[in-house]
């Protein structure tokens, strides 16, 4: 177990039950103030059904939708006053802490959602506002919002945590793959158009002949190729065949499998 996990687990032992899900907290708050889901829904873009789903933990909301609906509950921010909270995410320790300050602090959408969540958590727990909350004791939907708004830091931390990135797929290789795939898609589209034209032409010039069925067939749903034996493998979707002859046997097998399974 890593030091981060040891810290997080030790803290979560005492806090795991102190931080219920956002939906449960919002439901309890709404019940306390005597509002219906319909009332809350009038203050946001979501309907009562989505409100109920959120409270049941079954909502499928984007970050913006979640922030919108959380704001619609109009939870008064007493412990964590609006515009005076500085959120500190310690990725090394695996904690989130809020420092209340006299300074004006601009809150992002994600931060506002977290602060409403913290307001509900801390008002029930009696914990000091500056108490660091371990990741393991937070609603992960809220934590994802906060971490997503700090994408570069998270990427950097993940990088530090797991070691150097695999640089096998550099940008030029990826760009080249796209080029090859797009060329194959264009080829497939052209081939399909020509086949259609030929079929129409045949039908027009030979009206007595039996009707020619125009049929679209996916020749190769997966396109897999390799520029050279040692080169990177290309993958793409779409019709058309591959005339790549330089791939290794094992990759050729994969290509054949793709064709066989059409």
């Amino acid at each position: 177990m890593s030091s981060l996990q040891q810290k997080s687990t030790a803290q979560s032992d005492s806090l795991a039950h102190a931080a219920p899900r956002l939906g449960v907290l919002l439901h309890n708050f709404r019940a306390e103030v005597g509002e219906t889901a319909k009332t809350v829904s009038r203050r946001c873009a979501l309907g009562p059904v989505e409100i109920a789903q959120l409270e049941l933990g079954r909502a499928d909301l984007t970050a913006d939708e979640l922030a919108d609906v959380v704001a619609a509950y109009a939870v008064p921010r007493v412990i964590f006053p609006i515009g005076h909270c500085r959120i500190g995410v310690d990725l090394g320790a695996g904690t989130v802490a809020v420092a209340v300050t006299d300074d004006e602090v601009t809150e992002s959408t994600a931060d506002r959602s977290l602060l409403v969540y913290f307001e509900l958590v801390f008002s029930d727990s009696g914990m000091a506002p500056a108490t660091p909350m371990p990741f393991t004791a937070l609603d992960l939907d809220v934590l994802r919002l906060v971490l997503s708004s700090r994408r570069n830091e998270v990427n950097q931390h993940l990088h530090e945590m797991v070691g150097p990135f695999d640089e096998a797929l550099d940008e030029s290789a990826v760009a080249h793959r796209h080029l090859v795939r797009n060329a194959m898609l264009a080829f497939a589209a052209t081939a399909a158009a020509i086949a259609g034209s030929v079929a129409v032409h045949e039908a027009t010039n030979h009206p007595a002949a039996a009707p020619v069925p125009i049929e679209t067939q996916i020749i190769d749903a997966v396109f897999i190729s390799r520029d050279s034996v040692d080169g990177p493998i290309k993958v793409g979707g779409g019709g058309g065949g591959s005339s790549d002859t330089s791939r290794s046997d094992s990759v050729g097998t994969l290509t054949n499998e793709a064709k066989d399974s059409k």
Partner: protein, 145 residues
């Protein structure tokens, strides 16, 4: 971000080899953390979309070293999880690898399509850390361990 590998402290048994496609680094971080609290040692390789996953997967299969299980998010740029799953399902070699759809989507259509394309399981990303650890533990069962 490109692919990367997470390794835990070595244990006697062979670590579970998990390949993940998710464009959201926070989800990758949380899964890596949860795996450290799981009962099974795991090695992770992360791809940031379905296309990169397919590239990595084909390389691994071609070199005779397929992952034990693939974890696929649905909403990703370039090539989403269902498109990647469809590509996997078209290859006899690739479709032998168990695939778990792991997504925020609760759409029945996504679940039905995922399972019809051969996904072993369809899991909604959990809201609590203990559930995430349980998910990490379940990956071993999905991989047949």
């Amino acid at each position: 971000m490109k692919s990367m590998t997470v390794m835990q402290t070595a244990l006697p048994s062979k670590p579970l080899d998990v390949m993940v496609a998710d464009d959201e680094p926070s989800d990758n971080l949380l899964l890596a953390l949860a795996a450290q609290d799981a009962q099974v040692e795991m090695n992770f390789t992360f791809a940031e979309d379905g296309e990169e996953l397919l590239e990595l997967l084909i390389d691994r299969v071609a070199s005779g070293n397929p992952p034990d299980v693939v974890v696929l998010d649905i909403r990703m740029p370039r090539c989403n999880g269902l498109e990647a799953l469809e590509a996997i399902s078209l290859s006899a070699s690739l479709r032998q690898i168990p695939v778990v759809m792991f997504t925020t989507s609760r759409r029945m259509a996504d679940m039905e399509l995922g399972l019809s394309l051969g996904a072993t399981r369809f899991e909604v990303k959990p809201s609590s850390y203990p559930e995430l650890v349980a998910f990490a533990n379940d990956l071993a069962a999905v991989a047949g361990r």
